[in-house]
């Protein structure tokens, strides 16, 4: 059984990468708004499903289908903010009202996809262009390599955005203290909209690179949301490095517990371990960007 371990580890890392992307998306929205986006996993589902439709049913070439799928998902992300968040924001709603709204979005979106596309899992071909890599006894497929490379690229691109651009710093300022950001002339509503757009972009990219590996279907978003949420909490909410580590921890735990213990109890075992981790480190492994929410006026 131990000769399985390397395969399981590699599998865990690949799944962990997608959870990490999701955790980063959840952290982005949390940082600017203080709320948890329970629709984040739906962006992964949408990215995969829309691309699959544009490729399989509309008949676009794969690169065009991918661009279209990602763009449409970003539009959905921006609309979510515009229709369900901003009106509440302007009326000073409580945090749980937003969370409920996002739950509603996470319920309605899969249903719309089911009505429009059906219940069948969809996929599209692997991108190719990258070689399969032999790691000792394990083969990392070309598409799995895509997943890992894209995750790393997303991480560094975002890091650069937040550390080097004025817009990124303005988003960070909004995350640290919304009142002060507004005093500096930063349009806080635009920053919130942008965080939803970015979160949807990340989700869509994740969905697009991941779908050729395992396919996707209308209800794939929920477990993505849960695992991404768990990864964000384990890593430290809103901390990108933490999101990566949290994602990997969960991916590897799931992969190993499913294989060695039981495919039925895999999730239960994973969450039991996470529970233990959080008892020891209740704030997650990394420091959140915002340690203390500044008091609102």
């Amino acid at each position: 059984m131990m000769d399985l371990l390397p395969v399981l580890l590699v599998n865990g890392v690949v799944f962990g990468a997608i959870y990490a992307i999701n955790a980063i998306g959840i952290g982005l929205v949390y940082n600017t708004t203080g709320i948890i986006n329970f629709a984040q996993g739906e962006f992964i589902m949408l990215g995969g499903m829309l691309t699959a439709c544009l490729y399989g049913q509309v008949g676009l070439p794969l690169p065009a289908a991918i661009i279209g799928g990602v763009a449409l998902t970003v539009v959905v992300g921006l609309l979510t903010e515009r229709l369900f968040i901003r009106p509440l924001w302007r009326r000073g709603a409580k945090d749980w009202t937003y969370v409920f709204m996002l739950f509603a979005v996470a319920t309605v979106l899969p249903n719309l996809v089911m009505l429009g596309v059906g219940r069948d899992p969809l996929t599209f071909p692997a991108f190719g262009g990258l070689p399969a890599v032999q790691l000792g006894s394990v083969t990392l497929s070309s598409q799995a390599l895509w997943v890992l490379l894209v995750t790393v690229a997303v991480f560094f691109a975002l890091q650069g955005f937040f550390d080097r651009t004025l817009l990124g710093k303005a988003m960070k300022a909004t995350a640290i203290n919304r009142r002060v950001a507004a005093w500096l002339g930063i349009a806080v509503e635009q920053m919130v909209a942008m965080s939803f757009g970015l979160a949807a972009l990340l989700g869509a990219i994740g969905g697009v690179v991941f779908t050729p590996l395992i396919s996707t279907q209308f209800d794939a978003g929920v477990s993505m949301t849960l695992n991404g949420f768990a990864a964000a909490i384990i890593g430290g909410m809103g901390n990108m490095r933490g999101a990566i580590v949290g994602g990997l921890v969960i991916g590897i735990l799931q992969s190993i517990s499913t294989a060695f213990i039981s495919s039925v109890y895999g999730d239960a075992v994973t969450y039991a371990v996470l529970f233990g981790l959080l008892v020891v480190w209740p704030h997650g492994l990394f420091r959140p960007l915002i340690e203390l929410k500044n008091e609102e006026i």
């Binding site: 004025l166 710093k169 300022a173 009142r179 507004a182 005093w183 500096l184 930063i186 349009a187």
Partner: protein, 243 residues
């Protein structure tokens, strides 16, 4: 330059400002004094756009900005140094300054860098701390950063909310000296302070607030000589002598 007429602010049932009218002339240094809860901070919140006016009007340089969104007011030339300094602790001194110029992001970087250098000349200690996180600065240094950050937007009117808050008198005196210098160079300032003596010594004209209303106004020297007893009454509400 700034003309506030019959401004009303309320938080739910509580009226924080009742028909307040004040004005700040071009390049003037105006003070607002009064006890805690007199409505001084509410006035600045309304001017900076952080809270909505419940009535009345705010006109700045001929433009009615009563309902102008908060972020656009910075671009129009009104910057605030908030109470308690409110620097962005997890960001560096340089990043704080850079964000102060957020509304000028269309301008050439070189122009903004020159302004930043001028501010670092004004507060040399900030230059030494440039790469440090703002949270690691002392209270006085943070106040300098908060002022520098506000100046980065090239304001024509600077709103100062309790700049003495939590600072040692020596440190505050140094900051006041810098503010006087900025004023001498033409910057209009509206300073809200609990410390009436310091305010009346620094400003040319002052308003005395009490329970959300202006109860007295005049040149600061007159208020200092003739009306200080009354000013003190406004703090205590009964004419008892304070320490």
């Amino acid at each position: 330059m700034l003309e506030v007429r019959d401004l009303k602010i309320s938080y739910g049932q509580i009226e924080a400002l009742k028909n307040v009218s004040i004005r700040v002339g071009r390049g003037e240094f105006v003070g607002v004094i009064g006890a805690n809860g007199a409505g001084k901070t509410s006035l600045l919140m309304a001017l900076s756009g952080a809270v909505r006016a419940g009535g009345g009007s705010v006109v700045f340089d001929g433009e009615d900005m009563t309902h102008l969104p908060q972020h656009q007011r910075v671009g129009r030339g009104i910057a605030i140094v908030p109470e308690g300094r409110q620097v962005l602790g997890p960001l560096t001194v340089m990043e704080n300054l850079e964000l102060g110029a957020y509304q000028r992001r269309a301008e050439a970087r070189a122009v903004i860098a020159r302004d930043r250098d001028m501010i670092l000349d004004l507060f040399p200690i900030l230059r030494q701390r440039a790469r440090q996180l703002a949270a690691t600065l002392s209270g006085g240094e943070q106040q300098m950063l908060a002022i520098g950050r506000a100046l980065m937007s090239r304001p024509r009117l600077l709103l100062l909310d309790e700049p003495s808050f939590g600072l040692a008198p020596m440190v505050f005196a140094e900051i006041l000296a810098t503010l006087r210098r900025l004023h001498a160079e033409g910057l209009a300032c509206l300073m809200v302070e609990q410390d009436a003596h310091v305010t009346l010594e620094t400003t040319s004209r002052s308003y005395v607030f009490r329970t959300g209303q202006v109860i007295m106004e005049g040149s600061s020297s007159e208020l200092r000589e003739g009306g200080l007893v009354l000013v003190e009454e406004s703090y205590l509400g009964s004419g008892e002598k304070s320490s």
